[in-house]
């Protein structure tokens, strides 16, 4: 049963990315229902994902090194990095919340970038087998990415609430912008990865 591939594109059919309509690849360049451009696969999917992945990896370093916010009390500033904020939460007996922030702002971005890199390797090196498992990993990456925005939202709320001038103030730090960029970049990276590439190189069904 080798070399049988029942994918639509082998049969000359293209599934519209947005509305799911099947069209003959040779006859149409635009979807008859929604009017968007038809592509068999997302164009330059691997290059786009790789570029965004490198960008987010580069920004991940300043996002963790620089303070994400500074808490000023009576004129004395106390800068917090992402990890510092988690340790502060854990020290004040808020372990479940600390674990939540740890998952959302450290584990999720790291595992997401690792997962995307492995998905790219899988496609590039034409690894065989377990395509179903890798598709599931892709699905998890796609779903989980937005939860990293947790830290950004928390900072925006703190900044607006704690605003007493020199007495007590929260100021967002430069790492916040870098971290937000990491989240947005990895979300775009996951979106530009085409999971059908995982199946295209499989020799068997």
């Amino acid at each position: 049963m080798s070399k049988i591939n029942n994918s639509a594109i082998r049969q000359g059919l293209i599934r519209c990315h947005d509305c799911g309509t099947l069209s003959q690849a040779r006859q149409r360049r635009f979807c008859p229902l929604c009017g968007c451009r038809l592509h068999g696969r997302i164009p330059h999917s691997q290059q786009k994902t790789l570029a965004l992945l490198i960008g987010s990896l580069a920004l991940y370093v300043p996002a963790n090194l620089f303070p994400i916010m500074t808490i000023t009390k009576f004129g004395v500033g106390e800068p917090h990095t992402i990890i510092g904020g988690i340790i502060a939460l854990a020290n004040s007996d808020m372990v479940p919340i600390a674990a939540l922030v740890l998952i959302a702002s450290i584990l999720v971005p790291l595992l997401k970038m690792l997962g995307l890199a492995l998905l790219l390797l899988y496609v590039h090196l034409q690894w065989q087998g377990h395509a179903r498992r890798w598709t599931r990993i892709y699905r998890v990456i796609l779903f989980v990415g937005r939860w990293s925005m947790l830290d950004i939202f928390m900072i925006s709320i703190l900044v607006s609430l704690v605003d007493l001038g020199g007495v007590a103030q929260v100021i967002a730090g430069s790492a916040a912008t870098a971290f937000a960029a990491v989240v947005v970049f990895t979300m775009f990276a996951a979106k530009s990865f085409d999971p059908r590439l995982l199946w295209d190189n499989q020799d068997y069904e």
């Binding site: 639509a8 179903r132 925006s156 900044v159 607006s160 609430l161």
Partner: protein, 207 residues
Amino acid sequence: MYEIQLDACPECDLLIHAGQPEVGEKAHCPRCGCLLHRPTQNSIERTLALSLTGLILLFPANLLPLVGIKLLGKDQDGTLWSGVSALFAENMWALAVLVFLSSMLFPAINIVLSLLISGHLYFRRFHPALPNWLRWLQHLGEWAMLEVYTLGIIVACVKLSSMAELHFGLGLCAFIALLLITGMLASNLDNPLFWRQIAQLNHEQNQ
């Protein structure tokens, strides 16, 4: 025609002879396991009702204070917008724009688009932008992050609880109701059904 019964899996491109699952059933791709279709009861009517409710809730959720703190005798209320404007005041405009889009603009656009689409389908009115609306709705969905914002509120409150007195505003109730409505909208909206209906309207229009 033969091709109408064929469908392709969005995640592995397997050609499938598409059967129409019943309400309550789920159709999965036999090869990659991707969820292809999960029909819901009265999807159009429910989407219309939910998006109308959401439209009303948008106003209190955006205008009323979510949480307030009492710090050193001074009261400070926080709304969705004050989080954005405070970031803007600190010259973090990129962050301010991102927070504005994901917590205010995109959730609102989501609800307005759901209302427009389900309204047109319910009254069987054709509009040339109908396919575009549904496409935008599909793409915007993951950028509206009300549920993540809720977690952000919780973590911020925990951080503040040691140094200040917290009180919850009416806006928070509206916000949580809006969050539930958006969640129900997302699970209720039967995409393949909506596209089929749009195709039908398109067809009638062209005759």
